[in-house]
Structure formats: structure tokens, C-alpha cells
């Protein structure tokens, strides 16, 4: 048993993760005809908390409660993985990324969310405004405008051979390439 836990504690290979994430698609379909798509929850939260008579938020969000349960499970899963199954070693990153990040003072690799960037201290700085608030806003605005995120378009949509999802996925990647190579280095330098 302890060997098994030790085995699970190591970072998992991409193929293991890919298979398990891929299996979420049929699991949700077979359990209850549900489409895998996480960003819709952001819309359900708006519909539940502040619909403000906006047509886009006037629908029966309670019918989508299953998805809110799903993300509730994701939060608990994250907790369990970090608390009981975490690998004590630093996260392994490519040497070129490490070199480039160290120029901006990001040297702490003890956590998957860089401690030196995403902490309560930076939150109230110009840098924090971009990494938390502007970044989060773009994720919420962009996913809904696109009609889905990585799960809804890139995984569910591509799995069902939907070409609009391919367009969306390509655009996610183009936006990400521009951002990670041009915008993020600028923001890190703030």
C-alpha cells in the first residue's frame, strides 16, 4: 500500500493524464448525457449570483448544478493531491524556461503556482493587477465569447470532430503563443 502511495506521489506521465482526462468525456456522457465543459460554470455562477436581467444569464442554472458539483470535486481533488499525494521535490521545468524566469526573479520552484508571482503581496501591485485581475478577466470573457474553453472546445469539441472547435483551439494557441512570448515577459518585468 505504501509503495502504491509512493508510486502515485511521483509526477504523472503525460500519457496517463491524457488517457484519464480523455475518459472524462465518455464518463460524463454515460453517467447522465452531460457535456464536458468547465468554463460554463463561470456563466452558471453569474446566472445564480447576479443575473441582473441580462438575457444571457436568464436560464435555469439549477439544471446545470451537476457541473458546479463537478468543479466542487475538482477543488477537493486539488486539495487531496496537494495534501496527501504531493511530490516533495521541486517541479521540474525546462532549463531554458528556468534561465529566462530567473532573470525576473522567479526562482522558487517549490509550487506549481509560482509563489513569487501569485501571492497576496503582489496582488496589490501593478504586476498583480495584470496576473490576477486582467488575466482572469480575459479567461472568463474569452472563454464565454468563444463558447468554451480547453475542455469544451479542445477536448470535447475536437473529440466529436467539430471544426468550429478546431478554429477555437487554434485561436487559443495563437493567443497563448503571442502572450507567453511577448506579453508575459513584459508583465514579469513590471
Amino acid at each position: 500500500m505504501s509503495n502504491l502511495i509512493e508510486f502515485i506521489r511521483q509526477p504523472w506521465h503525460w500519457s496517463v493524464a491524457g488517457v484519464l482526462i480523455g475518459l472524462t468525456v465518455p464518463a460524463l456522457l454515460i453517467l447522465g448525457n452531460k457535456n464536458f465543459g468547465i468554463s460554463a460554470n463561470l456563466r452558471h455562477i453569474c446566472a445564480a449570483c447576479l443575473p441582473a436581467n441580462i438575457p444571457f444569464f436568464k436560464y435555469d442554472w439549477k439544471k446545470e448544478a451537476w457541473n458546479l458539483f463537478f468543479i466542487g470535486g475538482v477543488v477537493i481533488g486539488g486539495f487531496i493531491a496537494a495534501k496527501f499525494l504531493s511530490d516533495p521535490n521541486d517541479v521540474q521545468i525546462s532549463p531554458s524556461l528556468a534561465a529566462s524566469l530567473s532573470q525576473y526573479g522567479i526562482t522558487d520552484l517549490s509550487n506549481m503556482v509560482p509563489n513569487q508571482l501569485f501571492n497576496w503581496g503582489t496582488l496589490f501591485s501593478l504586476k498583480g493587477l495584470f496576473f490576477f485581475v486582467v488575466g482572469g478577466f480575459l479567461v472568463g470573457f474569452g472563454t464565454r465569447y468563444a463558447g468554451g474553453c480547453t475542455s469544451g472546445h479542445a477536448i470535447s469539441g475536437l473529440s466529436n470532430l467539430q471544426w468550429p472547435s478546431l478554429v477555437a483551439t487554434i485561436c487559443f494557441m495563437v493567443g497563448g503563443f503571442i502572450s507567453a512570448n511577448l506579453i508575459v515577459p513584459f508583465l514579469l518585468g513590471l
Binding site: A17, V19, G37, G136, F141, A146, G176
Partner: protein
């Protein structure tokens, strides 16, 4: 961009495939209502999914930077494998007309193209690289104890709300 409010405009069709209540009535009527206990099975899948996210480092800000800087194959491997497994699963469900555990036939909705997939997709991509997380990983990061990420999640909810507010004035 200011538009004449009196100008009559076709309402934009809701093309959100992740929200089932927007589908045609018959689909909803055929759906079995699920209470708290029924929904717990989705929480269980979410829980497993959250563990996978963290253990495979999909929630890692560093992994997302590596992906977009072409410094590692890891994320391409994860997403690529997930798509192949998902595609084979959907093929088998369609081919053998596999039903849900309650005996309902499994429905698939075709997605229609609109400009949002380009504009929104680009904007999301920019945000994805900055936050180092798409919506699923944001929730898993919160679970790992990165509590400051709640601010990112609230900002994402705000972004969604602003999209809903501006929707009729945005190109689709």
C-alpha cells in the same frame, strides 16, 4: 463602437454547447432530474479529475509557459492523448449506440461557427498564458492551497458577466 439602439437587430443565437438548459425543450424533458445525491457522482468524477490535474502538472503555471514557448512536449502530450481517447470513446458510443446508465440515448450537438471562436479564442489564449491556467485548473489550484487564486476566479466570473452584458454589441 456606438450602435443606434433603435435599430432592430436579430437576437444572437445562443451557441453555448455547455449549457443544456438552452437546448430544445424535448431534450430537457427527456432528461432525468437529478437531486443532490445524484449530482454527487459528478463531484466524484470532478474529484478524480482534480487529482489528475495536479499530479500531471496540468495546473502548473510553469507547464503552460513551457507549452507556449515550445520548451516541452508535456502539455501537447496530455491534450493530444485526451483528444484521441475522447474521440475513440465518442466513436464507440455512436457506433454501438451506447446509452446512459439510466437508459437515455446519448445526444451530440453540432457546433456552429461564429466569430466569437476567433476573437474570444484569441483573448482567452492571451489570458491562459498570463494566468497559467484555464478554468478547470484554476479551481484545482485553489484546492491545492493557492488561495490568492480566488481573485483570478472572481475576475474570470466578472469577465463572463461583462461578456453577457456586452453580448449584443459584440461581433458574432
Amino acid at each position: 463602437m456606438v450602435k443606434d439602439p433603435n435599430k432592430s437587430k436579430e437576437p444572437i443565437q445562443d451557441t453555448d454547447y455547455e449549457v443544456r438548459s438552452l437546448h430544445s425543450m424535448c431534450v430537457n424533458e427527456s432528461e432525468h432530474p437529478e437531486g443532490f445525491v445524484g449530482n454527487l457522482k459528478y463531484a466524484a468524477i470532478g474529484l478524480l479529475f482534480g487529482i489528475v490535474f495536479v499530479k500531471s502538472e496540468v495546473v502548473s503555471w510553469f507547464r503552460i509557459q513551457e507549452m507556449f514557448r515550445l520548451q516541452s512536449f508535456h502539455m501537447y502530450g496530455v491534450i493530444g492523448t485526451a483528444v484521441v481517447v475522447g474521440a475513440i470513446s465518442i466513436f464507440l458510443i455512436k457506433r454501438f449506440k451506447i446509452k446512459t446508465i439510466k437508459g437515455e440515448s446519448i445526444e451530440f450537438q453540432d457546433k456552429t461557427f461564429n466569430k466569437g471562436q476567433i476573437i474570444g479564442g484569441l483573448l482567452f489564449g492571451v489570458g491562459w498564458a498570463i494566468t497559467g491556467a484555464c478554468p478547470g485548473p484554476l479551481f484545482a489550484q485553489l484546492g491545492t492551497g493557492a488561495l490568492a487564486i480566488i481573485v483570478t476566479i472572481i475576475s474570470a466570473v466578472a469577465g463572463t458577466w461583462v461578456y453577457g452584458y456586452l453580448r449584443d454589441r459584440l461581433p458574432h
